[in-house]
Symmetry: C3
Subunit: 347 residues, 3 copies
């Protein structure tokens, strides 16, 4: 059910050091660690000898030593040392994964095709001056596609996040979904509205605003949300953001098992660049609070589906963005219909 | 395996208010809440849109609003509001359940036939002056039929409840089981005995007593126990209870899953009518203590059966009451033999 | 998958008294208790009447009384008392197990053949003057064969137990495995080495030593490890241990379920015979610490195998001892190949 031959985020760069880190990505048990030159290593998390996870072992220089019998494996999975005289060095770690470190994240290539650096997403805001960021990672006990549904949906904010980013106008403004060759897009433009509390504070200017939200899904499981406000008529919709404030919310969802995933969330912003530690801490706390509200719903959704295996999600017109994303995922896995999705329904 | 087209207790009346209450009854996920006029609503606990339990949502007036996208459903399951412009209101909640509020309890009708008010049990002691009551509810991790077995059994008290309601005479007095058209009955009369501590205190008179216990099972899962003592020869057995004290123990067991149930227990009494708060608290504490003793045994029984799926309950002559009740339940479900019950065994 | 018609340890003698003790041995639920004469009783842990574990009941004299209806069963499983007048005494406990108390342990015979006292292992150090002992028991959440693999392996000490019994020489000294008619043997002799900290302290003499380790597996799941040091050339290898110190480590592994076991560990020693309570407490603490290190690895190994059911253990030359033991176990169960073991692999 997982989309292969793609990069998935295994960790934020700062989460990986020389200590072993265990992840399950697309159902595959993976050990990660950093070599002495800082390069990231990813390999199957099991000793080929007696089937103990290598992640309970010890990193020694560039290599990993199994906790059980002390076998040492190189970053390429070759056995460098084995117990006993004349011991076999023929055992190798089952699988080595290509890694990439980019945008402050460790990416792992899942699939049998050669790793393709060009398939990393383009996230310029994470490498450009004039942008700051807030980042948090989460583990969620749900099918990763439910997180994508949630992000490709511009109507739930009013109910799941009423006190932060939701506002009544969200229910009233028309939402448009469309497809590009390699993306599903959902967008909403709200001209001439009162800004919600968060955005009013970030803009720091009185008066009504134009507000926009543009969600863009790309394979395998990336959702970029371009979101912001600008004074009415100042050009925010047209691309001239000079008078407004813009957030680029980067959502990277890594499937773990069929019912669990990792969620790496970064909000890049072109405002509040000089946020002090206290303000940055508030940004992080707000991000965690918003995601916790989503997690409550997503895990309840998974529990419902577990108890009702024959139930199928229904899609209304507001779900067009999520539906387009689901169809892209279905095509990418070659699965005609996934187990939870009934397909688009006219509303 | 559940008996359908019957009323089951979902909650004591005081347990249901305007906040959503989630129950699983006979395997069905049900949301309950009270409308503004106090009427009870029961419906399938899942939003037909994205499969989130409605019970994590918000009751607004008479309606329930889904936590995820804010869809509003009426007590009849009709969609009154949906997100987005021109949104579909065609989705309906999968199932609405008939409810009844009677005897201080909320009853839900499970089944496809029309709800039949006449099938509510007759519990006059809960509506008559001259009777007080003690009530507690429990969740038990066992097949609900084990609770019925336990209640249709007048021999376990000596061992499970030795310090409260048990006494040696219980082991010695003959127990008689018989069948009526719509009931299984188990009864024991103990003439001219010393009363056990609880009953001696409640009677408040010195001397020996006649003690009676009459258990009556009716479908789907109700056990009424008429129990009391009266001075020897004063007519307690014959129905003249004027000199004695009587408890009507009303046991209502609601199947939840195949291995769990709710147990609503009420002891109506024609004595201690003026019990003050402290005495009433002692009655409740005693009730909880007795049931906890049963729960310990019942959950151990379920654990044994889970570990030994081929094992079958055996029935001795003392189990005749429970056996008659089991046979009534088998007939009602159309199941020839249930998975745990070997059928009656001569003793 | 369990080897039947053998004795298994159910408890250390001091762990069994008149109170009921529940064990699952080779998948069988067993109740144990001591009679008034101190004799051990073992029987199926379930009342034949209503399927409640007898181990929640009460031992009365030599008999066990079921908690539910008070049925009393004798040590032979016969019903001595049943509830109700004229009650049936025909029900019997499903199975009685032969027990033996020897070497300070309670043994239970698992199998349909007659219990054979001659099949108890020979453990003279537990009955001889001149020997003291340290004993601990453990429950481990892994296939019991992983514990045997671990004990028939003289290479893991350096990595799993580096600070206690491990030392570099262990990696360098040749290990020899061989088979006798009824045993698999793994041995290592390390002449003229510096003793590791533990042994240096126990020997209490300066200078280099000869160190030996001889592991002997016998069916069904016993591993005896003869281990010690003696001054270089003083005869320790040849059997004259007079100048040295010897530990006889007795490892008795009792399968519980397919993924859990009990581990009874005794180290008999011919040194430190006058250890005071504080020193003995240190021995016990050290034993628990060493085993906890093994348990960490063993439970991780089980978790890996659960997540990778198709994976197979590989055997290098260092695993020859464990491999011989596995082959003996396979032959004893009549299973051609067990689910986790790929068979011997040339190294």
């Amino acid at each position: 059910m997982f989309i292969r031959n793609h990069w998935y985020v295994a960790a934020f760069a700062e989460q990986l050091g020389p200590a072993p880190l265990a992840r399950t990505i697309c159902g595959e048990a993976i050990l990660l660690y950093r070599k002495s030159d800082g390069g990231a290593v990813a390999m199957h998390d099991g000793c080929p000898h007696r089937l103990v996870p290598l992640s309970i072992g010890m990193v020694e220089g560039d290599n990993i030593r199994c906790k059980y019998h002390g076998m040492v494996f190189s970053p390429t999975g070759r056995c460098l040392q084995a117990p006993g005289k004349g011991a076999s060095l023929a055992l190798t770690v089952e699988r080595i994964y290509e890694t990439a470190e980019r945008y402050g994240m460790i990416w792992v290539w899942i699939g049998d095709a050669a790793a393709d650096p060009a398939k990393l997403p383009d996230l310029p805001w994470l490498e450009s001056p004039g942008w700051a960021q807030t980042r948090e990672s989460f583990s969620i006990a749900c099918d990763h596609r439910f997180v994508i549904d949630n992000l490709m949906d511009l109507t739930h904010e009013a109910y799941v996040h009423p006190e932060t980013i939701g506002q009544t106008e969200l229910m009233e403004a028309p939402v448009a979904a469309r497809r590009e060759a390699d993306a599903a897009i959902l967008e909403r433009f709200m001209p001439d509205i009162d800004p919600p509390p968060y955005w009013a504070q970030m803009l720091g200017k009185p008066g009504r605003v134009d507000r926009w939200q543009v969600c863009r899904f790309t394979l395998p499981s990336t959702v970029l949300i371009d979101s912001g406000v600008a004074p009415v008529g100042s050009g925010g919709f047209g691309g001239d953001r000079a008078q407004g404030v813009t957030g680029q919310v980067i959502n990277l969802i890594t499937p773990s098992t069929e019912q669990s995933c990792y969620y790496f969330l970064i909000q890049a912003r072109d405002f509040a660049l000089d946020a002090d530690a206290a303000m940055q801490a508030r940004f992080n706390a707000a991000m965690r609070r918003v995601v916790q509200q989503d997690i409550e719903v997503l895990e309840a959704q998974q529990a419902y589906i577990n108890a009702h295996p024959a139930a199928r999600l229904r899609a209304l017109n507001i779900d067009a963005g999520a539906t387009y994303a689901r169809l892209m995922m279905q095509r990418a896995t070659g699965v005609k219909a996934d187990s939870t999705f009934a397909g688009p329904v006219e509303s």
